[in-house]
């Protein structure tokens, strides 16, 4: 009996070990492991990270940003002109096709933009909020009329959610049908297979308007791998070629690994701690300042990111235009913090710190708790999952929470509207911060066409928000991404787009 058991175990082990692993592949594949899942392929419907990354591959925009220079270049629009008052844009389309060979028309463009602008379920209509109307002048010409001039209008037309989809297809299959499995694609790639929550397989779009792109004929697999440890292991064994969302603690190890290119790529990401201005203790300015002075974000950045990120000086992403790198922000000072808290009369108050999942949040939360306890607050940590986090912050049922966000473009307009404007939809990112001056400046900033004046406006906004501690700035985090070395020219842009069409594979 014993020999039987042994024989069985040996057989099982042998079978399992000998079974061919997935490494030796005949067709070339680029596999990207990301913790962020693709949940919908409809560009107007979601602003979640996993979806943003995909939209860029499936849908071309009117303008595109040069991956190397970062400049705006013609996309589906071959050329364009704007009136001097900035109230009308006329865009001329090139001869481009959808993945099924049907032409991309001005009607498709108008339809796609209109969906983003006015569809009730549009996830992010704000880039087109200043638009009055979009119309197809002829088959190749689109006219956009504005409610008011908007400085970053052209940049907004490069956003991930204004990708062009086929009107005919949506009319034919319905909104759900058109994007459920294999949508018509106007970008470099098209969907080959989608297993929600598991992987999305893309293959090169033969009808892509940029001749010779994608450079490689490899299919692309976007795999959802939630655990960074698992993803790292897969990268090392060659099961994936790219690992998105490397943990800071993994960086050194991956850097030292053969065949792996561990890179820190610039991003529009900022880590902050939200504070709830709607209730005590952080409805009190001095209590907020005390909380901010108590957090030494230089030390925190060093501890959490091993120094790979840069300590933040304002609550807005440091990569935005007009950002003043020299502004000192609030410099940590425990004594001052204690004093401010004592003055605020909020000492001893309970602070509910809610933590979303992920080791970074946990770590920051622990540090916040320790620091604030030291100045005399009573911080309590509560773990929540993502929907729970949105629920709690949206309803203002929290006092502080570490989180991050990313601005899609480098223009600060959207960022300010999202994070600081108290009269915009976001309740200043659920902090319920509401400063009249900031609100006014927000409107001014988006209308002002002169870059120098805009710089002054946005620097003033940053300064007010920082000093009033709308949020506590933590750090500006690059994207930590590890690549297999045989991939060339693959990177992630600050707007979270893969440069897959430029990528080639070297053996």
């Amino acid at each position: 009996m014993k020999t039987m058991t042994k024989a069985f175990l040996a057989a099982a082990l042998g079978l399992a070990v000998l079974a061919p692993s997935g490494i030796a592949q005949a067709e070339s594949v680029i596999r990207i492991a990301s913790p962020y899942p693709a949940t919908t392929l409809d560009p107007s419907r979601s602003g979640a990270a996993g979806n943003i990354e995909v939209y860029g591959q499936l849908y071309s925009r009117l303008l595109r940003r040069n991956f190397e220079t970062g400049e705006l270049e013609p996309g589906l629009a071959e050329k364009w002109e704007a009136t001097t008052d900035g109230m009308t844009y006329t865009l001329h389309l090139r001869d481009a096709k959808f993945s099924d060979g049907s032409p991309v028309t001005a009607e498709d463009v108008a339809f796609s933009l209109e969906r983003v602008r006015s569809d009730k379920e549009s996830a992010l209509p704000s880039p087109l909020a200043a638009v009055e109307s979009i119309s197809a002048q002829d088959a190749k010409t689109v006219v956009i009329k504005m409610k008011h001039a908007l400085a970053p209008m052209l940049a907004n037309l490069e956003l991930w959610n204004v990708g062009i989809v086929s009107k005919a297809d949506v009319d034919k299959r319905g909104v759900d049908g058109a994007f459920a499995t294999v949508p018509l694609s106007s970008g470099p790639y098209m969907v080959k297979e989608w297993k929600p929550g598991e992987k999305l397989v893309l293959s090169p779009n033969p009808n892509y308007w940029r001749q010779g792109y994608p450079k490689s004929d490899a299919t692309v697999e976007l795999l959802e791998i939630a655990e960074p440890e698992t993803a790292a292991a897969m990268l090392k064994t060659g099961e994936v070629d790219v690992m998105r969302g490397v943990n800071w603690a993994q960086v050194d190890d991956l850097k030292a690994s053969d065949g792996i290119d561990m890179r820190m790529e610039p991003s529009n990401v900022v880590f902050v701690s939200l504070l709830n201005h709607g209730r005590e203790p952080f409805s009190n300015l001095k209590a907020r300042q005390a909380a901010a002075y108590a957090l030494d974000n230089k030390a925190l950045t060093q501890a959490v990111t091993n120094g790979y990120a840069k300590a933040a000086n304002t609550p807005l992403p440091g990569s935005l235009e007009f950002h003043d790198d020299n502004y000192p922000g609030l410099v940590a000072d425990m004594e001052k913090a204690k004093q401010l808290l004592a003055e605020s009369g909020m000492a001893g108050k309970e602070v509910k710190i809610i933590l979303g999942s992920g080791s970074t949040n946990q770590q920051i939360g622990l540090l916040m708790q320790a620091q604030w306890e030291a100045i005399g607050l009573k911080p309590v940590l509560v773990n929540v999952d993502t929907p729970g986090w949105w629920d709690a912050t949206g309803k203002g049922e929290y006092d502080a929470t570490p989180t991050w966000w990313m601005n899609e473009v480098t223009d600060p307009d959207l960022a300010v509207r999202w994070a600081l404007c108290g009269e915009c939809d976001s309740h200043a990112f659920n902090t319920f911060y509401n400063n009249k001056r900031v609100n006014e400046l927000t409107e001014q900033g988006s209308r002002e066409q002169d870059p120098a004046k805009r710089a002054a406006i946005y620097q003033e906004i940053s300064k007010i928000a920082t000093e009033e501690v709308s949020q506590i700035p933590l750090y500006y985090s690059p994207y930590a991404i590890a690549y297999s070395k045989h991939l060339k020219n693959l990177k992630m842009t600050p707007a979270m787009q893969w440069t897959l069409e430029e990528t080639t594979i070297e053996q």
Partner: protein, 285 residues
């Protein structure tokens, strides 16, 4: 029937010796953990929640025997303090289901009829619900945290106890000493508590101890999924979960609490096994 039938088979002497030996070892493991838990503040070299960010992720050394975790807390101190929570979890995770289940089993087994039918349908329902899903959902509704985890366990866990007790009670219900008790005019309460329960309780105790192992593992598992104990509490499952993210840089963070969980689990498992054997042995002699 004569009483002839039973006598010949009783060759189980040998295991009994080893058994008591394993009982002693198991008992002392559990005992050590209980002592450590009670005196944790005195035994642990550091404050388990004290953050020392400069010394984060340092390996085992003379100052930190089990190393430090991602924010520089002493892993040894956290393992020792974790014993408090994990033992509490065993207790609070076992006793309420035991109480509810025993009551349900007692009533349903003794009275039968409509009470039994109703309770058994409830039993079917709970049993058909996947354990993890139900606990997950309940924790989801009530929010994560130890207390809610216990509530969820009580909602799910009574089932096994109820079935065990019910089966025992059904076997005892018609036995003659219960009939005698009824015939002597004892009230239902007396019959149930004094005559039925003590005799139906044996298997429950043995199961409860092994259930403690399951509860501890479940608690650790839910801590692992972020739904059990909340930070900065030191709980082994949470520590393993946190540590698993650093396993390559700092193997010690998740290895030591894992070993702690295994040792306590082993102690409890052998204790439960030993008690079960002891009980069976008692009955057969």
């Amino acid at each position: 029937m004569s009483m002839e039938a039973a006598p010949i088979q009783s060759s189980m002497k040998q295991p009994a010796v080893i058994l008591s030996w394993s009982l002693i070892v198991a008992g002392s493991i559990v005992g050590i953990w209980i002592v450590l838990a009670i005196f944790a503040p005195f035994v642990a070299p550091y404050d388990p929640t004290a953050i020392d960010i400069v010394n984060a992720l340092k390996g085992p050394s003379a100052t930190h025997w089990f190393g430090t975790d991602q924010v520089g807390r002493d892993v040894l101190s956290r393992v020792i303090h974790g014993a408090r929570i994990d033992l509490l979890m065993c207790l609070a995770g076992v006793l309420p289901p035991l109480f509810i289940g025993t009551t349900v089993g007692l009533l349903s087994g003794y009275y039968g009829g409509a009470v039994d039918t109703l309770l058994m349908r409830l039993y079917d329902l709970t049993a058909a619900f996947p354990f993890f899903v139900l606990v997950l959902a309940i924790v989801g509704v009530l929010g994560p945290g130890l207390l809610n985890f216990f509530v969820a366990l009580a909602v799910v866990g009574w089932v096994t106890y109820a079935r065990l007790v019910r089966a025992e009670v059904m076997a005892i219900r018609d036995s003659e000493y219960i009939q005698a008790a009824q015939c002597l005019g004892y009230s239902d309460r007396v019959v149930l508590l004094r005559h039925v329960l003590p005799n139906a309780f044996g298997p429950v105790v043995a199961y409860a101890v092994s259930d403690a192992v399951l509860v501890m593992l479940a608690g650790a598992s839910f801590g692992f999924l972020g739904m059990g104990a909340q930070p900065p509490l030191a709980e082994w499952g949470v520590m393993i979960s946190d540590g698993s993210r650093y396993i390559r840089q700092a193997w010690w963070i998740c290895t030591f609490p894992g070993l702690a969980a295994i040792s306590l689990g082993l102690g409890l498992a052998f204790l439960g096994d030993g008690l079960g054997q002891l009980r069976r042995g008692q009955v057969s002699t």
